[in-house]
Amino acid sequence: MSIYVDVEKRLGPFRLKVRFSAGNEVLALLGASGCGKSMTLKCIAGIEKPDKGIISVDGRVLFDSVRKINLSPQERHTGLLFQNYALFPNMTVLQNIRAGARREQDPAQREKLTSEIIESFGLSGLLELYPAQLSGGQQQRVALARILVSSPDILLMDEPFSALDSHLRFRLEGEVRQVLRDFGKTVILVSHDRDEVFRLSEKIVMLKDGTVDTFGSKDEVFANPETRNAALLTGCKNISRAVPIDDTHVRAVDWGVDLKTGSGAAKARYVGIQTHDIRAGEGDNSIFCRVTEVIENPFSYTVMLTPVGAANSIPIGWKMDKAAWAKMRSECVRLNLPPESILLLKS
């Protein structure tokens, strides 16, 4: 276990109470803005002081409220990457990276580390430039180089791609994935982007209002989000309140229909289904719907459907590729919600 975090912090009406652990892997903190993701990161880095709890990295205690341990940010060896990259504007790229190497006492060793990192990040052409002269992608690379040259025990990344244009994001994500693989130690990635989180991380902590809502491996969490919040964060757009009928049937109140589900329905408070899991035609849960709206996306349509005969129901979104909808195009559709695709959610 490389990192263990169990902290509490009160900040006005907001209360942060998180506990999680991770090995030498990428752990993502996923949540809506204001859920405490960045605060958690700042507690680990030593910028914010938790009211109580323990933080340890590789068995080294960084913070322990009982034993009154609270290492300074400098002593913690946590590489913190901000979304604006926080390069020192008054220093050149080379000076920025050298600043990162100052922990190393021996000047010869320091120079060696610096030139190695410059080499491996391909920065030799940028050394004399100031941060304001760099593109977003270059800034990110320099910031990562500056952090890694300081040989951190853990890497903390706060929304590392949010300052970039979307076409760049994808490419830089590939670069970062490689860097993280080479780093080989614990990485904590804070993000609100589920796709990014899915591609980069192995473990996921989902936060809601300062507490851990779901904690598990990426595949578990995405395949079977257990809570309404987790389902929303994995991008599930169709969620309805549910009243259990028996262990394999619920009434989806917001859609006004009864559904057959997998077992365990008795505890469900909500049901959800991903837009791409919906099928057309007959089946266990076939629902006759009227088309209320067709929203055009770049490469697909989202067809909004309301079950016929249900009063005040909220529409179900169904994602279809353009050709399929062009062929079908009608006012009414018979939908099938496969029982195995229906997510049973706690509140």
Binding site: P73, H77, G79, A99, R102, R103, Q133, S135, G136, Q138
Partner: protein, 227 residues
């Protein structure tokens, strides 16, 4: 024309500005980090000399530094030193009067500083001293320089508190501003006008310097495109 008042004004303003540069910056730095309530109170107290009439400042200074008063009498007994009516007495008055200018402008500069720079620097192991002198100060350079120049200009023009605590002794404590008043009082209009011109010239140059400092921001050359 005896140039002593010019020299005296310049050394008083120079020394006061030097002192206030460090005092103002450190007050600004520590107070901007202080608790909200402490900040509010200190802010008012430290800005007070900016709005008080200089004569009130002079009066208050005389009450503590005068030969029969608390600090003044102690210095007289222990060092045999009179704190008033010497050329350097004016430094006390000037320091108090220009402090708020330096404090306010540096605090403004520090408040616009992006704290994530300091956090990142800490996390890669840079000491707080290094961060202060090599990152925070260079990033806030413009505001701090502007504050310094403004404080210097104000120090040159200080009259009220100075005349109360240092008086006017030609060749010993006379400054430009006290000289102008004295010359006007004694109907030496011609010489008074010359000193007025000297004063205006200095102020003009100083304000020009402030303006140039404010306009010159970080050069942002053409951004490079990702390809």
């Amino acid at each position: 024309m005896n140039l002593f008042p010019l020299w005296n004004s310049l050394r008083i303003a120079g020394i006061s500005t030097f002192i206030i540069f460090f005092l103002g910056i450190f007050a600004a730095y520590y107070i901007s980090k202080a608790h909200r309530v402490v900040k509010g109170i200190l802010d008012v107290v430290l800005t007070l000399p900016l709005v008080l009439p200089p004569t009130v400042v002079g009066y208050l200074l005389l009450r503590v530094l005068g030969p029969n008063r608390l600090i003044g009498s102690w210095f007289l007994q222990v060092f045999g030193l009179k704190l008033t009516m010497t050329w350097w007495s004016a430094i006390f008055a000037t320091v108090v009067v220009i402090f708020p200018l330096m404090y306010r402008t540096s605090r403004g500069a520090f408040e616009s500083f992006d704290e994530t720079l300091a956090y990142s620097a800490q996390s890669i192991g840079l000491s707080d001293t290094y961060i202060f002198w090599r990152i925070r100060m260079p990033c806030c350079k413009q505001g701090i320089l502007a504050g310094t120049v403004l404080a210097f200009a104000r120090a040159l023009g200080e009259y009220g508190a100075t005349s109360m605590i240092a008086g006017y002794t030609p060749g010993r404590t006379a400054t430009i501003s006290t000289t102008v008043y004295q010359l006007w009082r004694t109907n030496d209009d011609e010489l008074a006008f010359k000193w007025v011109l000297v004063n205006m010239a200095i102020s003009f140059v100083v304000l020009l310097a402030v303006n140039m400092l404010e306009k010159r921001s970080y050069k942002t050359p053409v951004q490079k495109e990702d390809s």
